[in-house]
Amino acid sequence: MLRLLASLGAVCLALPAHAGDWAAWRGPGQDGRSAETGLPAEVSAEGGALLWTAELPGGGTPVVWGDRLYAWGFRRGQANDAWETLAAFELSTGRLLWERPFRDFLSDIVYERYSIGAPAVDRETGNVYVQSSAGDLLAFSPSGDRLWTVSMMDAWGRLTFPNGRTGAPVVDEDRVLVHGITASWGREGPARDRFYAFDKRTGEALWSSTPGVQPRDSSWSTPLVVEQGGHHAAITGTGCGEVIAIDARTGEGLWRFPMSDGGVNHTVVTDGKVVVAAHNLENLDSTVTGRIVAIDLSGPLEPATEGAPVLRKERWRRDLAGFSSSPVLDGDLVYQVTPTGELVALDLADGHTVWEVKLGPDQLHASPALADGRLWVPLFDGTFAVVKAGRDGGGVLSTTKLGGKALGAPAIVDGRVIVHTTERIYVWGDGRPVAPVTPAPPVARSKGPVVSARARPAEVLLRPGEKKAITVELLDAEGRVVEVVPAESATSYVPPGAKVVSSMNARFEKGALVAPPDAGLTAGAWKVTAEGYEATTRGRTVSGVPFSEDFESAVVDQTAKDGSLFGWPPLPWIGARFKWQVVERGGSKVLGKTIDNMLFQRAWTFLGHPDEQGYVIEADVMSDGDRRAMSAVGLVNSRYLVALKGNQRLLEVSSNQDRLKVGVPFVTEPGVWYHLVASVQARPDGTSVVRGKAWKRGEPEPADWTITVEHPNGHTHGAPGVFGFTPNNLHRVYVDGLRLSKLPEAL
C-alpha cells in the first residue's frame, strides 16, 4: 500500500480526441468533456440545429460508437404493460436499426423509473452492454444478438430499490464491471455494496469484491477507471456512503473515503491529485446535509478491520451539495450542479466559488458536459441550458425547454449534441459526416512474471449432472493475465469463520467440477491448484425437479437474542441469511421468517437456477396474527410471486407490482397451515399462464386453480424461491414441506 501512496497521481488526463467515440456515458475521457468544436450556436426543442429526434422515453445518456447510437429506454404497451429496451439508431440519419426489449420482474421499481443509466460499448468488439433496472446484465452484439445474460437478482442476490437506477456498466479491458447491493450466500450473505467483473465475451464471473462496509443506502455511481499508483483503479461512490477505489483487474480494495451517511451516487472526476466527489445527504462530521469535497490522494491510509484501508485527507470541502449530478473538470475549475439547480464553478485549488448561476428550480440526476467552450446542462425539469465555461464564464447563452424531464448527461460527438429525456432523444448539430471509428486492439497478455493466481469462474452454479471447466488465471503484479491454464486439482474446504459447515456436492474430473445426478442443493468452497499456484473458488449445486425440503435435517442449535433456539437456513439459498431461521413449531422443524430486524421485514429468497423453467413449486405456509394484523407468505416461480396476503385477504399473483398485480379474495386465518401451489406455463405465443391454488392443510385439494393469470409477453424462467413479508415485524410467517416438481403436460 505504501507503493500506492508513493506514486499516487500518475493519472493520464489528456483529453483524447476520439472522433465517433462516446462509448461510455461520460465520454472518452470518462469526465463529460468533448473535444468537439463548431457546435451549434443555439439549440432548441424544434430549432434549426435539430438534426433528428426520436420518441423513446429514457432516463439516461445514449452512447455512440461510429455511426451507431445506442439508447436505453422503455416502451409502454396495453394497460400497465411496459418494458425496457435497448435501441440502436443510425447516428447520421436517426433511423432505428433494431430494438431489444427486456422486462422488469420482482422489483420495487415505481412510477416508470426505468432506464436510469446508460449502455456501454466495448471498443474492441463493438458489443454493447446494459444492466436492466431489475438487475439483468445483458450483452448484445452490434447487430442486436443477445450474447449472454447474467441474472444478478436470483444468481447473485442483487437487491432492487423503488427508484431503479442501475447506472452504467463499465467495459474495461476484457471485463464488464458492475456494482450494487447484494446479499447472496455464505461470506456474501450479509448485504454489501459489491463489485463484480464478468468476462465481456462470455459473461463468466471473474471476481467479486466487497471493499466497503455495511451499506447505508443504495448507489448507482458508475466507476471511473484510471491508472493510479501502479493500479488500474476503478473509483466510485457506494451505498456505504464512501468513495471507494478498487483494482479493476482484481477487485482488491485500494482505499475508501467515508463521506456520507447515505449513498454516494454520482461519477467522480479526478486530476490525478484529487478526486472530486459530492453527495446530498448527512455528513459524518457535521450537522448539515451535502458536501463537495476534493479528496487528496496523497493522504495516508489507515488500516481497517473491515473493507479497504481508509483515506481521509481532503484538499478542501464545501457545504454545497450534489445528489447524483456528476461534476465536470475543466483545468483548474470544477463545475457542479446543486440540487437546487445552481451551476457552480469552483476553483480546484481551494474550492472557492468562482461563479454560480441558477438555471432551474432543481437538479436530480442530469449532469453537464463541456465542449466548445460551453457547458451543456440538462436539468430535471427539462430545461436545457448552455452556459459559457471558463473562469470568466457563467453567462447563460441559451435555454430551451425539452419534452419530458432530463435525467442523463449530453453525449457530444461528431459535431452533434445528444440529449435523452423521459420522452425522446434529441440530436443537434450541423450534419457533418460521422467519423469512422477504429476498433481497439485485443487486450495483450502480460509477459509476467506471474505473482498470483485466480480460479475461474469465481463462482460455479451447477444443476444435477452439469459440469463446468475450472481454469486458473495466472496474474502479474498489476493483475494482468499472463496465462490461463486448466485446473489440476480442486479440493473442497470450509473457509475459516464459516457459520455453516458445508461442501458442494460435486467432484473434480478432467479439469471440471461435475455435479452428480442427485446433487441436491449444496454449497461450498474449493481450493484449486495449477502449475504450483493455489486459488479459491466456490459454488452451489441447485436442484432441478423433483426436489423437496422439510427442514427436519437442519441443526437447531443457535440461540436468538430472545433466548429461543434456531438453525441457519440452507446455505445455498440466496438472500436467506438473517431473514429466515429453522425453528421448531408444533413438533416439526419449519422455516420461519425472522422478526428481530426491521430492515429485513421482507425477504425474497431464491433456491434454484436462474434458468429454471416449466416447474411447479408448492409448500405448507402459515402466518401468525391477530384481528388487526397478519403477514404475507408466498412462493416464487419463474419471476412471478404467488402469495397469500393475510392483511389484504387475497391470493395474489404479481411480478413488479406496477406491471402485474392480480388478486382474488382469499381469507387466511392466523395460526392455520395452508398448502400453497404455484405453477407457470410459458406458451409458445409468448403468453405465460400463472396459476395458484391454496387450501387448508389436511383438507381435500380443490379441483380448480384458485387464481389463473395470463400474462402476455410473460416471463419464461427464473429461480424458484420463497417470500415472506412481516409488516412492522409483528407476526412471523412459516414455510414447510417445500417441493418442486415438473410442470404437468396436461396443463
Binding site: 448527512e282 455528513n283 428550480p361 412492522n728
Partner: protein, 501 residues
C-alpha cells in the same frame, strides 16, 4: 374567533399571542392575531468552517438555536416554551448519537434547551421511517402537555415541564429512547423528556406508515385526533395493511383509542395519509366537525363524537368531496396513473376553516415532482364544493385566509392569491424555488419560505407587492410562525427567533 376557539379547545387556554399548535388554532388558519411582526432582520452568516451563527452579522435576532441537519417540523410556542421537531445530527445528549428523531423544547426567553424527546428510528429504512427526517409533527401544547406524533408512528403526550417536576405518567422513557436490543440509558432529568402516555399505531393498529409518520395531532376537548400515515410499501402500489385506520381519536388524558374511521380509506389510499386533521365549528345548522384531507384525494367531514358500529367506536362520515378534477382521475375511460404530472393526487396540506368555508389543495410527495393541482373551497354544512381553482400546481402547503383573500403556495414555487368567496385569482407571485412550507400572515405582511432558503415578505391585499427578501444559509422547509411579537423561522439547520430589535 381565535381566542374563543382557544377557550373551547384547551383545558388551559393559551395566550392569544401564543402559537400552541400547527395552524395556530383548530381552524389551522395561519393568520396571527398579532398586529405586526418583525420585517427588518437578518439571520447573519455562519462563522466560516462552523455551523455557528456569527451574531455580529445578524440583525433583529433575539436568539438562534442549532437544530439537526433536517427540520420539517413547525415550531409551536406556548407556556414559555418553543417546541420544534428535528433530527439528532447535532447530538446533545450523552449516549444518543446518530440517527434519532427529536422534539426540542427551548426556553422562549433565551432559546436555551430545556429538554428533548428522543425517538429511535424504526430501522426499516425509507419504507416506514426515512433516515434522518426527524420529527415532522408539530407538537400541540395544551396547558402543561404537549401532544406529538413521532416518526415511529407513536402518539405521545409530553409533560411540558419535563422531568424537573418528577416523572409523571409512564416511567419507561429510557427503554423507549433507544432501539430494541441496545443498552438502555439512565434517564437524565436535565435533558430527557417526561412522557405521560404513548400510543403505538403500528403495534396497536397494524398501521403500515409510508416513509414517515408526519401528521400534527389536533386536540379538541378531551380527544386527540390524528391521521396515521398509513400507506403503501416499497412498491408504492401495494397497501400492506389496507384495513388499518387512517384517522383515529384517542382519549387525550390516557392515550386510549376511542374512535377510528371505518370508511375504507386504507384500501383507497394512493400513496399515504400524511395530512393533519382540521376542524370546523358548528355552522349552517351542522355541528362542529373533524376535517380530513385523505390519502384517496378526497376531503372528508366527520362527526367529532365516535359512534359504535360493529362493536367498534367509529368516526361517522358526514360528507366527502373529491379534491381532484374528474379529468385528473380518468381519461377516455381509463384511469390516469398516479404520480404522473396529469394524474390524481392526495391531500397532504391541512384543511383550513375560515369564514364559513373549508379550503384545501391536493398535492403529492415532493419527490414525485410537479403536477396538476386543485384548490377547493367547500361548505362544511352541506359538503358541497363552492369553488375550485386549477391554476395551482401540486402543493403540500396549507393555505392562509385573511380578509377575504386566500394565500395558497404551491410546490412549483408560486404563491396564489384568490378571492376567498369566489376563487377568482387576484395575483400570483413566483419565487423561483420549490415551496414546502406554508405562508404566515401577520398584520399586513405575508411571510413565505422556500427551498433556496429565501424568506419572502409580501403585502396582504389584492395586488402583488414584494416587501422584501431575506436569505438564509439553509433551505426552509417548515413554516414561519409568530408568537409574542417574535417571528420564528426554522431552516433545515437552525431555529431563528427574530424580535426585530
Amino acid at each position: 374567533m381565535t381566542l374563543a376557539l382557544s377557550l373551547l379547545l384547551s383545558a388551559a387556554p393559551a395566550q392569544a399571542a401564543d402559537w400552541p399548535l400547527w395552524g395556530v388554532d383548530a381552524t389551522r388558519n395561519m393568520v396571527s392575531v398579532e398586529k405586526k411582526a418583525p420585517v427588518a432582520f437578518d439571520p447573519g452568516r455562519l462563522v466560516q468552517g462552523t455551523e455557528e451563527v456569527d451574531l455580529s452579522t445578524a440583525k433583529g435576532l433575539k436568539w438562534v438555536a442549532k437544530l439537526g441537519s433536517q427540520t420539517y417540523g413547525n415550531p409551536t410556542v406556548a407556556g414559555g416554551r418553543v417546541l420544534v421537531g428535528t433530527n439528532n445530527q447535532k447530538a446533545r445528549r450523552e449516549g444518543i448519537v446518530g440517527d434519532y428523531s427529536l422534539v426540542l423544547a427551548f426556553d422562549e426567553a433565551d432559546g436555551h434547551l430545556l429538554w428533548q424527546h428522543t425517538v429511535p428510528k424504526l430501522g426499516s429504512g425509507k419504507v416506514n421511517d426515512w433516515e434522518f427526517l426527524g420529527i415532522c409533527s408539530a407538537t400541540q401544547i395544551v396547558g402543561d402537555v404537549g401532544y406529538v406524533v413521532t416518526t415511529r408512528g407513536e402518539v405521545v403526550a409530553l409533560d411540558l415541564k419535563g422531568l424537573g417536576d418528577g416523572n409523571d405518567g409512564v416511567t419507561d422513557e429510557a427503554e423507549h429512547m433507544v432501539a430494541p436490543g441496545l443498552v438502555v440509558p439512565t434517564l437524565d432529568p436535565a435533558i430527557d423528556a417526561d412522557v405521560l402516555w404513548r400510543f403505538d399505531m403500528p403495534v396497536e393498529l397494524g398501521v403500515f406508515p409510508h416513509n414517515t409518520t408526519s401528521a400534527s395531532a389536533l386536540v379538541v376537548g378531551d380527544r386527540l385526533y390524528t391521521s396515521t400515515s398509513a400507506g403503501t410499501d416499497w412498491s408504492h402500489l401495494d397497501l400492506p395493511a389496507p384495513f388499518a385506520p387512517t384517522l383515529i381519536a384517542l382519549d387525550r388524558h390516557t392515550g386510549a383509542i376511542v374512535g377510528e374511521e371505518a370508511v375504507g380509506l386504507g384500501e383507497r389510499t394512493l400513496h399515504a395519509n400524511w395530512s393533519s386533521p382540521g376542524w370546523a365549528p358548528a355552522t349552517g345548522g351542522a355541528p362542529a366537525q373533524l376535517l380530513f384531507g385523505a390519502g384517496d384525494g378526497f376531503l372528508y367531514g366527520f362527526d367529532l363524537d365516535p359512534v359504535v358500529e360493529g362493536g367498534l367506536p367509529v368516526l361517522h362520515e358526514r360528507w366527502r368531496v373529491d379534491g381532484n378534477k374528474p379529468e385528473y382521475r380518468e381519461k377516455d375511460g381509463a384511469p390516469i396513473r398516479y404520480a404522473t404530472p396529469q394524474g390524481p393526487s392526495e391531500f397532504i396540506a391541512t384543511p383550513v376553516y375560515a369564514g364559513g368555508l373549508v379550503y384545501n389543495a391536493i398535492g403529492q410527495d415532493p419527490e414525485h415532482g410537479p403536477g396538476v393541482g386543485l384548490l377547493s373551497a367547500v361548505d362544511p354544512a352541506t359538503g358541497k364544493v363552492v369553488w375550485t381553482y386549477d391554476g395551482i400546481g401540486r402543493t403540500i402547503s396549507t393555505v392562509s385566509v385573511h380578509k377575504g383573500v386566500v394565500y395558497a403556495p404551491d410546490y412549483d414555487g408560486r404563491l396564489h392569491a384568490l378571492d376567498a368567496r369566489t376563487g377568482a385569482p387576484l395575483w400570483v407571485h413566483e419565487t423561483g424555488a420549490h415551496i414546502w412550507g406554508s405562508a404566515l400572515v401577520v398584520g399586513k405582511v405575508i411571510y413565505l419560505g422556500d427551498e433556496d432558503g429565501t424568506l419572502t415578505m409580501l403585502a396582504v391585499g389584492k395586488k402583488e407587492k414584494v416587501l422584501g427578501k431575506v436569505s438564509f444559509p439553509a433551505p426552509i422547509y417548515s413554516s414561519p410562525v409568530v408568537a409574542d411579537g417574535v417571528l420564528y423561522v426554522a431552516t433545515q439547520t437552525h431555529l431563528y427567533a427574530f424580535d426585530g430589535k
